[in-house]
């Protein structure tokens, strides 16, 4: 094994980690606040990246960022208010099935609004080289921004959900919404915020992917691959998302190097199964959480 290959494993681990952590954060934020395992997170990301392409083409990058941020927050809040707030008190599995139906509906809605063709996001300078080890690695602006963004978003949200008042409110709301409401907490607002931020981080992941490659409906598959990362770190642990994503990303990259690319996904799910056999709530999940 050459040192070049180990450098590739390191770089690929970083890129996978960032992508999985971002999608994983989308899952966990929504789950923490509303106890809904939202299967539609990738479709929400697709909706937002398509919104971004439209805004970017019409108004430029700055407005596209502003409008997509607003749109993502609005989409998350609207989905909760319009659908999931009416299912409060229902079994977790029934809410999960509704989220599955929502994923299908959102995909179809995206197709109706934007069509299903391939789109490209040609941000100026996206392919410029930012870091290079000759004959080994070239990291573009997009690669570096993706990695930095993944780690930064994780750090901010880890702090916000554990140290800030909002995080405490969010946990209180998730554990007992009735009691939280009786204590005067704005329960609906807190859950809407969590859904909005969940949509926003999935938008960041989807836009990053879209800038690196292309935007098309098949990108929703990324959301499914990120599920093991979400479960591995613990379904209700924001902090756990990064360690979970690192383990998964490293396992995939190493498996690709030693067993071939096709083994990557197999190894990812094998690692997940092994960890869940020993730690049913994931690496950093709360023991009170029931598996879904």
């Amino acid at each position: 094994m050459t040192s070049g290959l180990w450098i590739q494993i390191l770089v690929q681990t970083l890129i996978y980690t960032s992508m999985y952590a971002l999608f994983g954060l989308g899952y966990v934020l929504i789950y923490r606040a509303s106890r809904v395992f939202n299967f539609a997170i990738a479709e929400m990301g697709l909706f937002c990246v398509l919104l971004f392409t439209t805004c970017y083409a019409s108004f430029g990058l700055g407005w596209a960022v502003v409008l997509t941020t607003a749109g993502s927050l609005g989409l998350g809040a609207a989905l909760y208010l319009g659908i999931f707030s009416r299912l409060v008190g229902q079994e977790e599995w029934s809410q999960m099935i509704v989220s599955f139906a929502l994923s299908i509906a959102l995909l179809a809605i995206c197709g109706l609004i934007w069509g299903t063709g391939i789109r490209h996001i040609d941000v100026p300078g996206k392919s410029d080289t930012l870091f290079q080890i000759p004959q080994a690695v070239t990291l573009t602006v997009t690669d570096v921004v993706l990695v930095v963004m993944g780690f930064a978003v994780w750090a901010i949200l880890s702090w916000a959900t554990t140290m800030s008042r909002l995080g405490v409110y969010m946990r209180a709301t998730a554990e007992n919404p009735l009691l939280a409401a009786q204590q005067g907490l704005p329960v609906t607002l807190i859950i809407c915020t969590a859904w909005g931020v969940g949509a926003l981080v999935s938008a960041v992941a989807s836009i990053s992917y879209g800038i690196r490659l292309q935007v098309d409906p098949s990108m929703i598959l990324l959301g499914l691959v990120a599920v093991p990362a979400a479960l591995l770190g613990g379904l209700d642990s924001v902090f756990g998302k990064l360690p979970g994503a690192i383990i998964l990303g490293a396992a995939q990259a190493t498996a690709t190097a030693f067993l071939g690319s096709a083994a990557g996904d197999v190894v990812a799910f094998a690692v997940l199964l092994l960890v869940l056999l020993v730690l049913p709530h994931g690496l950093f999940g709360s023991k009170q959480v029931r598996r879904v």
């Binding site: 050459t2 070049g4 290959l5 590739q8 494993i9 770089v11 690929q12 890129i15 996978y16 992508m19 299908i104 995909l107 179809a108 197709g111 069509g115 299903t116 063709g117 391939i118 789109r119 490209h120 392919s127 290079q132 000759p134 004959q135 080994a136 690695v137 070239t138 992917y209 690196r212 490659l213 292309q214 098309d216 409906p217 098949s218 929703i220 598959l221 990324l222 499914l224 691959v225 990259a253 690709t256 190097a257 071939g260 690319s261 096709a262 990557g264 996904d265």
Partner: protein, 408 residues
């Protein structure tokens, strides 16, 4: 003063004019009624139009609609408009089967679509039983060897492409080298894996000196190719033969360039989008195309008409954004040409016979050579050419290669 005779003549003239006018209007109306009374030719379309794979079928449909709309605007075929009936197969084999039956029940003279080879395998026996010709761009090599009586490949097949990739490497890239080290890099899908098996067989038969030193199967949802490419390059191949679709090919070539590789990569049609070639601008990346590029200024009148049609349906942003859109347009053109020859009373069975006797179909430059069908050939397009990006421009490289696949 006007004479009585002049008045009488004027009245007669006016009466005659009115009669002629009335007659001509009546005749015209009768003609219009006669034309309107002619029932349309029903052409069926089925492919995946929703879900994660909708990007395959939707542009195919848009391309077909663009062509049929232009035919209908010119009055149709033999005075009969073309009525395109569409069913979303959702890439599901059961739905594919029922959609073929439903379209046949709706009176389809021909059915087009089905870009996924597994779906074509489900549809072919039903099309045979229903005796309705299926024109598909996703026909697998297995179904053409021997070919099914009512299944026609309206596009090039991957089996043909494998032959062309070998010919290109042997004749153009390494004309004086018989002991090549070959790396394979391809997608983990049933259709592509089947194509690679054929490619390997062809290499064994025709190039015994070639040795496969790396064999990388890559999932479609890959987000980085650095490790797979590093592993592949560590085997020190002379050439990479690819069966990689556009995003996978972009990542692989990007990683090759980043790792300082100078070896050529020769891809099949799945990675031939103009943007895919231009995005990395690596002159060592070659992809086969059965259609010229939008930068080919002398592609032909038919090609120019197609570009105009693509613009009108939003599949053109300076480049044609989908390969399948061209296939949809070209398949619609083929069916229209066959209907033209088949005659006003064409039905599904006579259309199949006409397809066998059609000989050549001139595409006006959309394909490099005319489309050909015969009783011994069910693959319409058999010629491709390799392109690459060089200094931001797309250029054809080497000769054209032809290879029709399948036997009766």
């Amino acid at each position: 003063m006007i004479s009585n005779s002049a008045v009488r003549h004027t009245k007669l003239f006016m009466l005659a004019a009115a009669t002629v006018g009335t007659l001509s209007v009546t005749t015209g109306v009768q003609t219009s009624f006669a034309q309107a009374a002619k029932p349309p030719f029903v052409v069926g379309f089925t492919d995946v139009l929703s879900g994660p794979n909708a990007g395959l079928g939707t542009p195919l449909l848009a391309g077909a609609k663009a062509y049929f709309d232009s035919v209908n605007a010119r009055g149709g075929v033999h005075g009969r408009k073309i009525d395109l009936r569409v069913i979303d197969s959702q890439a599901d084999a059961t739905r594919v089967a029922t959609s073929i039956q439903d379209l046949q029940g709706a009176g389809a003279v021909a059915i087009m679509g089905l870009t996924i080879s597994g779906n074509v395998e489900a549809a072919a026996p039903i099309a045979n039983r229903a005796k309705v010709s299926l024109f598909s761009g996703g026909t697998s090599a297995k179904l053409l060897n021997p070919f099914q009586p009512y299944l026609f490949s309206s596009d090039i097949t991957t089996a043909s492409e494998g032959q062309m990739q070998i010919d290109f490497v042997r004749k153009h890239l390494f004309p004086n080298k018989n002991d090549l080290k070959v790396a394979l890099y391809y997608n983990q899908t049933a259709g592509v894996i089947a194509y690679v098996e054929i490619l390997k067989d062809l290499m064994k038969q025709q190039q015994p000196g070639w040795r496969v030193v790396a064999d990388e199967v890559v999932p479609l949802n890959v987000t980085d190719a650095g490790v797979a490419v590093a592993k592949m390059l560590s085997a020190q191949p002379d050439v990479v033969i690819m069966g990689a679709v556009d995003p996978v090919a972009i990542l692989a070539v990007r990683a090759m360039v980043a790792q300082g590789s100078k070896i050529p990569a020769v891809n099949f049609h799945g990675g031939n989008a103009e943007r895919t070639m231009l995005v990395n601008n690596y002159p060592g990346y070659y992809a086969i195309r059965q259609y010229p590029t939008t930068q080919d200024s002398n592609a032909g009148r038919g090609y120019a008409e197609m570009i105009a049609a693509m613009k009108s349906v939003g599949i053109y942003d300076g480049l044609i954004t989908s390969y399948n859109a061209i296939t949809g347009y070209n398949t619609a053109l083929q069916i229209t040409a066959i209907l033209n020859k088949c005659g006003e009373n064409c039905n599904s069975e006579s259309l199949q016979k006409t397809t066998h006797g059609i000989g050549q179909i001139d595409t006006g430059g959309i394909t490099f050579k005319p489309v050909v069908y015969s009783p011994t050939r069910h693959q319409g397009v058999d010629t491709g050419r390799f392109y690459r990006a060089n200094n931001g421009k797309l250029e054809a490289v080497g000769d054209m290669y032809s290879a029709a696949w399948g036997k009766p």
